[in-house]
Symmetry: C2
Subunit: 309 residues, 2 copies
Amino acid sequence: MTEIKVPATSANLGPGYDTLGLALTLFNNFKIKKRDDQQLKIKVIDKNNEKEIKIADSDNLIAQAYKKYFNFLEAEIIGAEIIEEMNTPLARGLGSSASAIIGGLAAAAVISGKLISENDFIQLAVKLETHPDNVVPALVGGLTINFNCNNNYDYYKIDVDPDINCILLVPDYELKTEKLRQVLPQEVNYTSAISNLSRISLLTAAFINKDYKLLKTAMDDQLHQPYRKKLIKGFDQIISTAYKNGAAGAALSGAGPTILAFAVENEILIAKKMQEIYNSLAIESDSYIVKASNSSLYQSLKEEIVKDV
Amino acid sequence: MTEIKVPATSANLGPGYDTLGLALTLFNNFKIKKRDDQQLKIKVIDKNNEKEIKIADSDNLIAQAYKKYFNFLEAEIIGAEIIEEMNTPLARGLGSSASAIIGGLAAAAVISGKLISENDFIQLAVKLETHPDNVVPALVGGLTINFNCNNNYDYYKIDVDPDINCILLVPDYELKTEKLRQVLPQEVNYTSAISNLSRISLLTAAFINKDYKLLKTAMDDQLHQPYRKKLIKGFDQIISTAYKNGAAGAALSGAGPTILAFAVENEILIAKKMQEIYNSLAIESDSYIVKASNSSLYQSLKEEIVKDV
């Protein structure tokens, strides 16, 4: 049995719509075992209540990814038993789909014993997920700048300071990314685009130079948050509460509904105060205090488990 | 007599439309002398041919800026003689207007003996120029990320490595920024906005981490260059020639028509090859090889010339 850990991720980070993604120290574990037949048996267990989550075969991203990897290898599928122990809540903007995709691809690498190049791995993952900013940090860790150049997805990784805490406020309801895409306009005006350009440049400088006082301005977004926050009750109040209590920056995680706040200190107080807003609105929620996860799953696959193709 | 040097600047740097500006070691010199009356005598001399450039009073940005500064001080205007020795060509995308504005404001600081805060200085300059990415680097030096937060213009400065050369290819015709603004569409699509978001994030990382291999991807722009390049004969050919000969990155300077290329080495060859394209099109041009100018004019005003208000 081989076990791999795939991090939860926060995509669309601040002004980084479809661009910036952050890997978090909140992991989904995949336990992988070879079978003697060609069957694929997949089980997903919610670690919060130890219950199995039933996923229709057609929706099973782990299986799709697993098969895609063997297709890419042009090899016969080898049977496997994969158990995912999910610690990240589903459909909350924390990259649970990306995690399933990366887990499925990594499982296939482990079972086949053949590791395709990191760039090929990324192309397969993005094809399944359609955007890069969850799958790439899930595979390589850290804060990734994701970009497409000549139809090839690539990234630049920034290692994030362990001093910075990530507070995740996760309400007890799901929002599907498709629905959240529908609320966006067709086009954006120059003013909004320019605002995000300046913010993402600041955010990049803030994380490289560890200059976190920039984050309050840098986390502001004009490209998706103004539209999506209407679907998230209490959003403005939670963000302002985070800042009032000392957060360095705060924004939607992914397409929401999770709200992420960065804090160098007072993270427990900030999380508590943010959660009180949901309490006052009679919305159940969980809060997590995690760090950025800088380690690369791809590197550990390379070093420990499988041979290069 | 006091002499101050204001750098030429390259705004809209790569993907940094209305956001990123770079100060260059190509300076306009302002020679400033107090007069005993309240008159303002301004003379602009083109240093390339030592001829005077006649500017209508209503268009004289040096005079407008000078008066604006005294207005801000709520003080009577003190007369002065200002001679600008221009080394940067006019209306070519190298910040000649910004230079006049900063020169006029700085002259008023010198003559009044009163230096307003850097932030106030910036607000005055942006009000005259309407956008920040030339005036701010002209005042503070370096590569500036310019942003507006709650109707206040502010910046973050990145000191640029002296190893990097900036090649400026300046054709012998003017293009007015207003005309170049008219060719832009009303809105931008998400794909273009996302492309620039990823590029400006990469560009920021490239300059902070001195990782210049990123610049080729990072200098790409989808927000203004595709529209403006139609007004600039030979544009695509010059850019590809720059890359073919080893440039690290290349794009329009400001709104054009100047083209800027970055190079760590072979800068003379690259400049020559770029210029040959204009030669083949029978367009006269000049090329300059300069560096980024990291020194701050505001700091030197503060340290050497005038007292704080």
